[in-house]
Amino acid sequence: MATPLIAVRDLTKIYPTARGEQVQALSRVNLDIRPGEFVSLVGPSGCGKTTVLRILAGLIRDYAGSVSLRGQAMRGPSKDVGVVFQDANLMPWRSAEANVMLPVEVLGLDRKAMRPRAKELLAMVGLEGFERKLPNELSGGMRQRVAIARALIHDPALLLMDEPFGALDAMTRDTMNVELGRIAARSNKTVFLITHSIAEAVFLSDRVLVMSSRPGRIVEDIRIELPRPRDLDIIASPIFSSTVVRIRRLLDGEDATALPSIAH
């Protein structure tokens, strides 16, 4: 088996609060993500999902445990990672295309050579003809698609996404899920997706990691044995619904009684 792209061992994170207390956000989190895999992380709100993503993105550096990217200990942000946040976080003074080009400028890549790629990526996320538009002229879904194109421009091996479609309506969200599945499969990206939608996680992923709260740790690693990319028809399949129900139960049990651990 290939070496993992990301390997997390005994990751523990404690936040100091303003009042001098401590919040343990993560406790001994272990996870591996192999190249080309699509892995989702689901869990109740506040269980530490965003914390995991921010550590993988290199935005949080004070933690215990180890995180390695391609076998190398991770120190801060990497060029080989693209991040899509919960909000699109576009620069409102930049056009859609200029927003997609931002990583090119920051990483000091060749602007001229990359401009056609920015256009291609915008076309890939369905925004052909919107290159010149400002963020405030785009809908929420369109803005999030610009953010996805921006995360892909420097061709990172790993795409990190933190509830990227959380703010979208259900129909737009379904469309975006199908598109994301296609983009991930076509560009052969490794994707780590955080979501609070179980259906979204099952629909898109090779594996769904289920996280418990207070402190956050991973309690289940569920493989979805369906070929990718998938279309919305699989929602009707028995595997889909039984997996969704299984994860639902895990999370409900977690919410109700905060079990110390869940046996496999």
Partner: protein, 278 residues
Amino acid sequence: MTDAALRIAIPEPRPRGAPLWLRRRPELVLTPLVFLVLVALWQAVAWSGVVSAFVLPAPSAIAASLVAGLRSGLFLQHGLVTLAEAAAGFAIAVAAGLVVGTLIAEIRLLERTVYPCLVAIQTMPKIALAPLLVVWFGFGPGSKIAVAAIISFFPMLVTTIAGLRDTDRGRLDVLLALGAAPLRCLVSAKLPGALPHVFSGLSIAAVFALTGAIVGEFVGASAGLGYLIVQANARLNIPQVFALLLVLGGIGVLAYGTIQALRRRLLFWAPKEERSSP
């Protein structure tokens, strides 16, 4: 009755009377109207002789003085002096305010050490420094530029710091996740994001700079609109004092309008209310 019948029965209300632009922006006509009524009242009071012409000259006398001053080139010559002093002071204040504000917002140690001192100075009425500055910088334009720069520096400083503190965390995260250096974060996210605040500072600073130049001229000068006002006052030429105030008002409106136009151009991306507010 059916819907269709109702729709036929009730005709569409047709726009009547005033044209659309007038109904939408009645102030375009009403504001000048209010102004004219006030001036007319003023003129009536002046003609009635209730108030001495020394205290309150008639609008007609002020207008005559204004026209004479503009015709002779006197107002233009001195107006340019004041404008140049104010503009120089303003430019210094803007540059210094942006630089010092950025340093204070970016460097924690400066925020802790330098900023409290600046806040202490800010609470002092800086206009009181004018006589001292005339002693230090002389009767020429230097002292006026200094007064203008000092009092307009603070609004620039405060708004720059406020704007940089208001930085959107999410936009910053995008840059940090790419490994961006602090300078890159400043240029690509923080400073553009601070512009709405900075423009509020610019509007205030422009008015302050003009005030500073005039006060500097009051204290001691041989040219400028402030100098002319003091001269006219001393000669009890009250209509000319009023005429000069009008010229000053005109310069103020011009400066404010220029900044607003620039604001609309540079903040094309901002929400509407941030594009035009003071």
